[in-house]
Symmetry: D2
Amino acid sequence: MCRWLAYRGSEVLLSRVLYTPVLSMIDQSLRSRLGAETTNGDGFGVGWYGAGPVPGVFRSVEPAWNNENLRELAGHIRSPLFFTHVRAAIGSPVQQSNCHPFRHDRWLFMHNGYIDGFAAIKRDMILAVDESLFPQISGTTDTEALFYLALTFGLADDPPEAVARAIGFVEARGRSRGVQYPFQGTIATTDGESLWVFRYSSEGKSRSLFFTRDVRTLRQEYPDRDVLREVSDDARLVVSEPIGDLPGAWVEMPEASYGVFGKGGEQLLSFAPKPPPKAPQ
Amino acid sequence: MCRWLAYRGSEVLLSRVLYTPVLSMIDQSLRSRLGAETTNGDGFGVGWYGAGPVPGVFRSVEPAWNNENLRELAGHIRSPLFFTHVRAAIGSPVQQSNCHPFRHDRWLFMHNGYIDGFAAIKRDMILAVDESLFPQISGTTDTEALFYLALTFGLADDPPEAVARAIGFVEARGRSRGVQYPFQGTIATTDGESLWVFRYSSEGKSRSLFFTRDVRTLRQEYPDRDVLREVSDDARLVVSEPIGDLPGAWVEMPEASYGVFGKGGEQLLSFAPKPPPKAPQ
Amino acid sequence: MCRWLAYRGSEVLLSRVLYTPVLSMIDQSLRSRLGAETTNGDGFGVGWYGAGPVPGVFRSVEPAWNNENLRELAGHIRSPLFFTHVRAAIGSPVQQSNCHPFRHDRWLFMHNGYIDGFAAIKRDMILAVDESLFPQISGTTDTEALFYLALTFGLADDPPEAVARAIGFVEARGRSRGVQYPFQGTIATTDGESLWVFRYSSEGKSRSLFFTRDVRTLRQEYPDRDVLREVSDDARLVVSEPIGDLPGAWVEMPEASYGVFGKGGEQLLSFAPKPPPKAPQ
Amino acid sequence: MCRWLAYRGSEVLLSRVLYTPVLSMIDQSLRSRLGAETTNGDGFGVGWYGAGPVPGVFRSVEPAWNNENLRELAGHIRSPLFFTHVRAAIGSPVQQSNCHPFRHDRWLFMHNGYIDGFAAIKRDMILAVDESLFPQISGTTDTEALFYLALTFGLADDPPEAVARAIGFVEARGRSRGVQYPFQGTIATTDGESLWVFRYSSEGKSRSLFFTRDVRTLRQEYPDRDVLREVSDDARLVVSEPIGDLPGAWVEMPEASYGVFGKGGEQLLSFAPKPPPKAPQ
């Protein structure tokens, strides 16, 4: 299991969100409160948009909390849209290519949770990935396989549809192998413009997911917090669990829902996987 | 491309073969003479038999020449059969799970060379791997895919047959995708008892491979070399290129051949891939 | 802060002590109960005696719990005397040369605790190190500086005396800089024959330290534990905090004490630092 | 030995200088032509000015040529002044704190070469470092010790004077220990505004150092090179050895000289170490 954070708003220095005591993602890597594992020390990743449409990605197998390079980068990179992820490995090797976020072209994708019975259905998933995309899979995680499945199902055109089909595929194949609850987790994905976040589990007891309340409201409640004055009115943080010391700043995503944060506004909708058209033979 | 070494004989301290000036594999990682690349700095691995039938494996993405842990281990581990490999990555990520030797149960497998057009045929190869073996693939190299293909084709029962079928499969699929010379390289594999080594390339211009001449003869030629008195009469080193300063100690493996070094004696035979029974549909 | 373990007895496979559920040091790296920090994820080290008088040392900056190489080594190395250490860095960089145990010639040394005000007195400590030893300091930790101070003060001849003088030096210099409680911690050191362990802090509230009760007694209480039948009657584990599920197996070292476990028998004595002969000018 | 590059001019994307075939520093890490060692695979570092007066530093012990994070950063960071360094370790451990460039406050410092007899005079050097600076030394290299010596001798006020005194100190102490040629190498240092580069060796046979000719001239000679149109008229690259395929673009620094590239213009002057006022007692 893992912890992740997605930011979308006006350009900020990454360190303002990753390291300042008000909102410290990095502290959380060492001491998570809501997670299934309290320590997320099996690598981390940052993906950010800046120069050009393709995001930069910085990933490492070291724990985030003692990584000096991460601190340096966060202190020098400004971005209007970025993901960070800290990993607690379950099963897959701890290696850079298994660290989130995953990138394909201009897309980023990250996940907190797991596919139950992944070893049993991995082959089916890999086979269902578009042949032209297949060679680009570079790690061995369930998340990356899910990402490529979603890409195959049209992530670039309709993210909620593609994610629903990918999870639907996972559930169908998992159940055909006797797995009761094949999917668990929260997902974030972005094309550099809009941000989509999902909370869903086959069991109906999903990993937690929170987003920040309206920045204008927060500024009134916390007038002394500089970071709130730095960011734009439409800035949003979405996180696996509330971070920092801003009680009342966080809204929990409902079970089985997804949110879109984009230029055209924001939406919070219900989410349901889409099973494959025919049952697997 | 890469460099590898396989030792089979009486128990020796690994450092005697990896670090002593007479036979230094590690120096070669920095300055290869015969290789396509002169520097093999993209990770290394050691596999050795000792406690129990399953070999130990120590792998790292750091260059072998500056790895202190490798030096420590080599100075403390004695083994009658071990593999070492230094890697110059071409294409695949530099990560621990991509370092040779690969291990499955009691088997080790390593390779110097490449599968041309691997991206195009990787999916076919992966699909041909036995479903029960598939989840154990943990990296992304052509070599590991070839190893699992060979396991699928019966490596544990008949190594030369299985390797011939695996390379035959690669050639058939590669050629069907328009690749002229799909396979290139040398391979070593072992079950902890016998050692099989292969030299073959579709083009007929294979990477070099050498083994040591009879130890008794070598002792006469080099009476002052302690290491030759330490090892048993049947000890053999097989290497990608001659190492150390023992001119005359090395015999080159012929093009398209394989060798077996086992308890029942030694054999040097010709090698030819076995194409799949039917052409791929 | 950190956690450590020292074993002395008959030869055992390291994995029996590091990984088996009964006595799992590695689990403890992830979830310490008594430590000031619960997570010890900033590197680890193993030092063991085997081939020759100089011990092997394997150290890494990765967390111990996900290190595959450690698992491999522990499964293949047998030793009658070994140290393991998991680190939670406080101040010093997370780098291999800062991982315990430290080695000099045939000696190993490790520490759980800290020197308060180390930055202020480091220069004094380094200056007091024998000039011939000075160039061998390769890291930047307080522990390594203390080790070289103890070596300077005759560790090889009289370990308790040398450690008492080293800590006495630290206390004198620290106090002259206004530090109330300069030293805190537990120490283990060995020459490959005997094992010395220390528990002391300037404040009189030292980090915990435990050793196993007599093996014969333990075998009677836990007749089903195989590991107890494998080891010799004189085997001892000394640990920062009790590990595994053997309640009643552990004896706490008293405050301000040290123990010797050697061929000539065992002793538990009181410990007091020895201040330098003259106050620092 | 090592290879380094310093850039000062208008803001450019780091990847334009580190990776494009015209000017590829990274290729050089694998295949140096003029260096004493052809492979510089023992770590690398990048220091750059951007957000605020204190530069960012990204360092790693992996070879530069296969480091994906370096490639990501270089593709997303723009800077008007940056250093890169690839290392071939000689003696000091391969660890992040030993990778150049070194940073103190707003200063960066890097070096290609060595202090002969460093083990013998390291203690003298460390002792001569200002007590307030001493605790900030975090690695074990000769270069970092030289940097702190230069800081002690007033680097922030008069870099050429401070470097002359630091090297003078090294020569005096080295010679008093019987070392014939104590210093060898080239140095770059900057405060984020001006760039100082030095070429000097006690023997009078210094490592090579080159800087680019006037950009306006280069544009005329190489009208098809985009990178030359991107950078400002006053842009300069200073490198250990010519990189890329621009014959005629490079001017060699004379033996025993230093250059200043700053807002107030450029100067090339002769360099001589300044011995300490009194001989060491």
